[in-house]
Structure formats: structure tokens, C-alpha cells
Symmetry: C2
Subunit: 206 residues, 2 copies
């Protein structure tokens, strides 16, 4: 593409670096931004700069936060003996939105994926082991994707934690609510039968 | 959505204002930006701010440029007697990429659309009339979308220009190259027969 200005080309290149954004979409963004008022543009650009400068990772659970310790980790009403292990902060938000979980989190910052060159040492696994060693944790809930990478990570963490006297569980796999049985894949359907739930339990859940 | 930080929420709101971006996509962008180095984030944010500050519109054709007069309008090898009227700067880029056009442009900045409250006075039509009055222009090529709004704009501009001794033409409508006839819509196919081209002309075109 020929751009009529070097600056537009630069801006398109910046936006095309965002995940899932090609050069055509980037150009749409840039043309939109040009229509903003000077004040709005200043705010937009400033937010991007502040994002990198001011955001920290919680020193306990690695969730993003503007403080040393995130709101969840510093919350007195949370159950600090239950730790839910997730891949990234989007999963924290997703679980928080269910309003079904009162424990705390541990954000790995990724999953073990040899194909992408991500090994256990690239993730926040050591700090999880340290937290468990601390003695306060009684249960670790693994809430990772059901992919090969997720399973590998589950297994690795399970092996690292199994000598400590805690329970390690994974979130339930099964037929999603609203799904029809005949369209479910075999593995999910199979697992949902093997890991069936006592009927009374489904009554107490929301 | 619950965000673990006020700043993330602000950033998501900023990005969700971009065309075609929802809050989930905006969050993906924000998480990506957090992984940039401080220098890269500074550059990204700075580009957004500079975009609004430094970019001007060419005083002749209203194309964006970092100068008073854009490269096309100040180009000595361009044919300044032919003006191609387009809706926005993306169309200029698209036509420039064909490398088939050596004239200059006039960017309207939109099309007449009563539904969106855009009338002739909101567009750069007066300056086009002034350019034509100047006497250098011999032909105006209308290159707008084939929508009702495009047709209305074509007609309005044609009426404004018809008393001046210039040719007003529109770009050819017809079956796109590579398209199969049986899937073409009736209006396009009909027009392509009415406005058929002498065979020898198709040989000289690229």
C-alpha cells in the first residue's frame, strides 16, 4: 500500500501489530483516530503509555493490578486456602464474573507449550510451589484449557505439588448447559458419564 | 466485565471506541500492549498523539498529508487537468495502487446521506467547484460507491458542474475481472451490456 504520509504508515504499522489486526483494519483505526479531537487523541495515546508504565503484577498471584497486592489477594472476605490456577488474567475476569468462586487465584502467564518454546521456567510455577509450601493453601483448583498444552501443564503442576498435603482438583469437564447431547463430542460425553455428579449436588448449584 | 484495575478499564473503553472493536477484542489489544517494552509503548502512544497533531489535509484536494500541499498535488508528473472525486483517502490509496491513474484527486470526506444527516455543505464540494472555476480542470471523474448515497452525490456534483465547460464522467460499472457471468446481479449485468466497450480498447488496457 502507498500511504500519502510517512506518519500514517507508521501508525498503520503500530496498529497492525495488535493481535488479529491486518493492515486494512489498522488503516480504518488510524482514519478513525484522525477524526478525534486533539484532547481525545491525547487521552488515547496517554492511556497506552500509562498502561505499560503504571500497571504492575500482583506479587502474590501475578494478576494485573495498580497496587503491589491485587484487590483479590488483599480481600479479607476471600478464602485464602483455595487457589485457582489460570492461564492469564482474562480467565480471572471470566471466573470472577460467574460470582461462584470466593477463593484466590494464581496466574501462570501462559501454559507449557514446547511447540512455542514455552517451558515450565517461563511460567509462574515456582511461585505457586512457594505459596503451597507456605502452608496456608489447602486446595489448588486447576482451571486451564482442555488442550494438550493444558493437560501437560496440569500434569506438571500436579507432580510438583503432590508431595505437599493439599488437594489438587481440576474444574469439571462435561456437557455445557444448554447444549444438546447428540452434538457433543465423544470425549466430552464420555468424561461427563465417568465424572457424573450426584443429583442432589446439581440442586444446590445456582 | 469486572476489571482488576481502573486503568485497564479505561484502556478497554478507549479501544472499544475503534470501528468494529468490541470490549472483548479491546481487552485482547490491551493485554497485548501490556507486554510491550516501555519504549515500544511510548512509541505506540506517541504515534497516536502525533497523528492528530501533525497530520494536515492538503489545501487543494483534502487528502491527508504532513505538508500544506500533498505529494500528488505538488507532483509535476501528474495531469492537473483531470480530477478524480472520491469519498475518502482510502479510495485515493486504492486508486494509486492500480498505477493506472496519473491525474489528481479531490477527497469529499464522505457522501451525501440524509439518513446520517450529511448534506452537501458537510462535504468538500464548494472547493471542488472553485477548483473547476479556476479553469485548469478539463475532466472530473466521479469514483464513488454504487449506492443510493453515491448516486445522489454524483447527481448533485454533476448539477453543480454542468455549466462549466468540462467533462464529467463516472468510473465504469460492469462485471469484475475474474467474476462469472451467471452469478452477477441483473443491474450490473444490464449496465455492462448498455455500456459495452469496443473490443480494441480492452486490448490496450493492462
Amino acid at each position: 500500500m502507498n500511504f500519502s504520509s510517512k506518519l500514517i504508515e507508521e501508525a498503520v504499522n503500530e496498529f497492525a501489530g495488535l493481535p488479529g489486526v491486518g493492515r486494512k483494519t489498522a488503516l480504518r483505526f488510524v482514519l478513525h483516530l484522525m477524526k478525534l479531537s486533539e484532547e481525545e487523541a491525547q487521552k488515547f495515546g496517554g492511556t497506552v503509555i500509562r498502561l505499560r508504565k503504571e500497571l504492575k503484577h500482583c506479587k502474590t498471584c501475578h494478576n494485573v493490578s495498580d497496587k503491589e497486592l491485587c484487590d483479590i489477594c488483599s480481600g479479607h472476605q476471600r478464602d485464602h486456602s483455595t487457589v485457582c490456577v489460570v492461564e492469564d488474567i482474562r480467565d480471572v475476569m471470566a471466573i470472577e464474573n460467574t460470582q461462584q468462586y470466593r477463593g484466590v487465584y494464581h496466574v501462570l502467564g501462559g501454559i507449557i507449550s514446547p511447540m512455542d518454546g514455552i517451558g515450565p521456567s517461563d511460567l509462574n510455577i515456582e511461585t505457586l510451589v512457594e505459596r503451597v509450601k507456605g502452608g496456608e493453601v489447602k486446595e489448588v483448583i486447576m482451571a486451564l484449557s482442555t488442550t494438550m498444552e493444558g493437560d501437560t501443564t496440569n500434569f506438571y503442576i500436579y507432580k510438583r505439588l503432590k508431595d505437599h498435603k493439599i488437594n489438587v482438583s481440576t474444574i469439571a469437564r462435561g456437557i455445557a448447559i444448554g447444549d444438546e447431547l447428540e452434538y457433543a463430542d465423544e470425549v466430552t460425553l464420555g468424561r461427563s458419564i465417568v465424572n457424573r455428579t450426584p443429583y442432589e449436588k446439581t440442586l444446590t448449584a445456582k
